[in-house]
């Protein structure tokens, strides 16, 4: 009697263990798949310039990386320029495409037109935003526009840009009612 009981228990345990193992295998496979997708997205994300400028029509660099990983064109990042396209083409094993979203001709003296057949054009000059502080009226409209919290200020107080944090995304330019924000080459400020 006891023997029968024992064998039942052993069989039961074995069955439970088998099902558990199968479940774990399934979970592992799923995990690996997501991991791979994540790692591609991650490596795309690492190549992106992190300007968070949304010129690619996605709200930031991370969403664009996700989109590229799932099949979006990899030529929509103007701050990264042709150099980025080359790197992404190599990473994703895709064709090199010409840049689609040309930099807006706001007041960029140094926008390089694409020269087909002459290799990648030099990366655009790194710019940062700079508030002309005498003219700032303290409307606080540029503060929520900044994707990286690089503008400090309060209502009716002068605002200023934290130069180290600014990515030069130009998103603060349209909200400013008095046009007191300039884009200047980063080199001027160390």
């Amino acid at each position: 009697m006891t023997l029968l009981g024992l064998s039942f228990i052993v069989l039961g345990l074995y069955a439970i263990a088998r099902t558990l193992m199968a479940l774990e295998k399934k979970a592992q496979a799923l995990h690996a798949a997501t991991e791979q997708a994540n790692s591609i997205e991650q490596s795309i994300h690492q190549l992106l310039p992190q300007t968070q400028c949304a010129q690619c029509t996605y709200p930031g660099c991370r969403p664009y990386a996700q989109a590229v990983a799932t099949g979006e064109d990899h030529n929509k990042c103007p701050p990264g320029g042709d150099a980025l396209i080359m790197k992404l083409s190599e990473l994703l094993n895709r064709e090199v495409l010409p840049l689609v979203n040309q930099p807006q001709a706001s007041d960029k003296q140094d926008s390089y037109p694409l020269t087909p057949g002459h290799g990648p054009t030099p990366a655009p000059v790194e710019m940062i935003a700079m508030i002309r502080e005498d003219e700032c009226i303290g409307c606080a409209k540029c503060i929520p526009a900044c994707p990286v919290d690089a503008i400090v200020g309060a209502a009716k107080m002068m605002h200023t840009v934290i130069l180290q944090d600014c990515t030069g995304c130009e998103l603060c330019l349209p909200p400013c009612p008095v046009d007191c924000i300039d884009l200047l080459p980063r080199q001027q400020f160390l």
């Binding site: 994300h45 992106l48 310039p49 992190q50 300007t51 968070q52 930031g60 660099c61 991370r62 190599e90 790194e126 994707p147 990286v148 919290d149 690089a150 180290q164 944090d165 990515t167 001027q188 400020f189 160390l190």
Partner: protein
């Protein structure tokens, strides 16, 4: 005797020093001074205005940053031009020196925090790198005085130690008495081929009684034994990794000229002058001059009697020095030597033959021939491999150039790529920060409550939730309300009458009349409210 460890690589070069060159003052003033505002480690911003008269020792610019370092003028004059790159003064010897209290005087430097005092005195390393001294002496336990001027031809530090040893040692002594400096070890390193300097320094050391005995260490002559990292290796027996600075290890390395400037600082004199050797076969005779910082090199060449032939001017030593365009440059704090040579035929660069002569001489144990092969080959994966091959550790000493049979200017290539890699690393770091702030912001925005539409007006706001404290109170309130309404009614009537006197247009009259009507209604309302309340009481 302290033990010395061997240095990696290096070369024994003929030094050909013009020993015995005596420091001299200028016999005439330069007519103008040009201060370079963009230097290797600092960017200055002007604090003077165009046309302003400045005194000698006055602050004319400050470095940009939260802890500014001052730049002083050594001569009085008038500011004639200011731009992003320079401030120009027309000097005037008739003006007195700065009358206002000099930023730090002997007594105050003793009692102010040392780093702050040094910043206000504008002290930079005078050995050749021009690194701000205030940033070096933070939390140190060992002070290393560098008198190892290892490049051939250089004599500035040697003659300073020979002729001004007492001032250097005085500066050291004063520095040690400062409250911010607590040392465990004090080392003075001098190169073996400067016997006069060694004797002079030994004698000067005996003047003072020391609480911490300085160790005078003689470093064997070998290029580049005087580099900070090379000295560290020779004294402490281990190599500093490329990313680690000497000050991170609690060791500060100060040049002897910097110590002399610190001594001047304790006497209230900011950094305005420095000793410059002018050497080479392009001038009549070698000289050593105390020059105000900002002296234009074109003027200096005429003063020293430079030959009227095509000249090649270098600031710094013959190996590591920078060739400059003589017309518009001026003396900066890190210009220890000016080498004026007749233009030599340039040796053309030949392809690398992989002879491997550059490897044993490299003091940082790099493989220059592998590096140059990488630089000259595939540009795609270059960066990663250059970092792996430890290019950032290159100190640009140029020994590899000296031994290269193909005359490849190796250290120039390395310098370019080093700064490029540094720029890339900076960019990457900024991208990481931007990514982090962006993610934080997204999380914050997701958490923040969405702005609700205005809450519906509650009825309870209009009915008093609490019973009135006393009836008498409510009657008085109603009475004042009534009085107020009556007053406003009277005022409205008066306004209408006055307007009628002046003559009114019909539309305006309607406005006035409606106002009077409204006030009348209000008075009636208040009256009834008051009456009913009174009746209840």
């Amino acid at each position: 005797m302290t033990q010395l460890y061997p240095m990696t690589g290096g070369l024994l070069l003929p030094t050909q020093r013009a020993i015995g060159l005596k420091p001299q003052a200028l016999t005439e003033q330069p007519p103008r001074l040009v201060f370079a505002l963009q230097q290797r480690h600092l960017r200055y911003g002007s604090v003077v205005k165009l046309g302003q008269l400045v005194f000698a020792n006055q602050v004319i610019a400050q470095s940009i940053g939260s802890e500014p370092i001052a730049l002083h003028t050594g001569l009085a004059g008038q500011v004639t031009s200011i731009d992003d790159h320079s401030i120009e003064l027309r000097t005037n010897s008739n003006m007195p020196t700065h009358k206002q209290p000099i930023p730090v005087s002997m007594t105050t430097l003793k009692h102010t925090p040392l780093a702050k005092g040094l910043r206000e005195l504008g002290l930079l390393g005078l050995g050749g790198a021009g690194f701000p001294t205030a940033l070096k002496i933070h939390r140190i336990h060992t002070l290393l005085i560098n008198g190892v001027e290892c490049e051939p031809l250089l004599v500035t530090d040697a003659s300073l130690m020979t002729y001004h040893a007492d001032q250097i040692i005085q500066g050291l002594y004063q520095l040690l008495t400062h409250q911010d400096i607590q040392l465990r070890r004090l080392i003075i390193a001098i190169e073996a081929d400067k016997p006069q300097a060694i004797t002079a320094m030994r004698q000067a050391l005996q003047i003072h009684t020391w609480s911490l005995q300085p160790e005078l260490i003689i470093i064997p002559t070998r290029y580049p034994a005087g580099g900070e990292r090379q000295l560290y290796q020779q004294l402490f027996g281990e190599k500093l990794p490329a990313a680690v600075k000497m000050s991170d290890q609690g060791v500060a390395c100060l040049n002897v000229h910097t110590l002399l400037a610190i001594n001047n600082g304790f006497n209230g004199q900011p950094l305005t002058h420095r000793l410059v050797s002018i050497l080479g076969n392009g001038i009549a005779q070698p000289q050593q001059l105390w020059l105000p910082i900002g002296t234009p090199i074109s003027w200096l060449l005429t003063y020293c009697g430079a030959l009227h032939e095509p000249l090649e001017v270098r600031i710094g030593g013959p190996i590591m020095g920078q060739r400059i365009d003589q017309r518009n440059q001026s003396i900066t704090a890190n210009a220890n030597t000016l080498i004026v040579d007749l233009v030599k035929p340039t040796l053309f660069e030949q392809p690398c033959i992989a002879c491997g002569q550059c490897e044993p001489v490299c003091p940082e144990a790099l493989a220059p021939q592998d590096l140059i092969a990488l630089i000259q080959s595939q540009p795609q994966q270059q960066d990663q491999q250059l970092v792996e091959q430890n290019l950032p550790a290159c100190i640009e000493c140029g020994v590899c150039d000296l031994v290269c049979p193909s005359h490849i200017p190796l250290h120039q290539y390395f310098g370019q790529h080093k700064s490029r890699l540094k720029h890339l690393a900076d960019q990457q770091q900024r991208a990481q920060i931007a990514n982090a702030t962006y993610t934080r912001r997204q999380e914050r925005l997701a958490k923040a409550p969405k702005p609700n539409p205005k809450p519906p007006i509650e009825a309870s706001r209009f009915t008093p939730s609490q019973p009135l404290s006393s009836k008498a109170n409510s009657t008085t309130k109603l009475k004042t309300n009534l009085a107020k309404a009556q007053r406003l009614y009277r005022e409205a009537q008066a306004a209408l009458k006055q307007a009628e006197k002046k003559g009114l247009e019909p539309t305006l009259r309607k406005v006035y009349e409606s106002k009077v009507g409204k006030m009348h209604d209000k008075v009636q309302l208040a009256q009834t409210a008051f009456d009913t309340e009174k009746g209840r009481v």
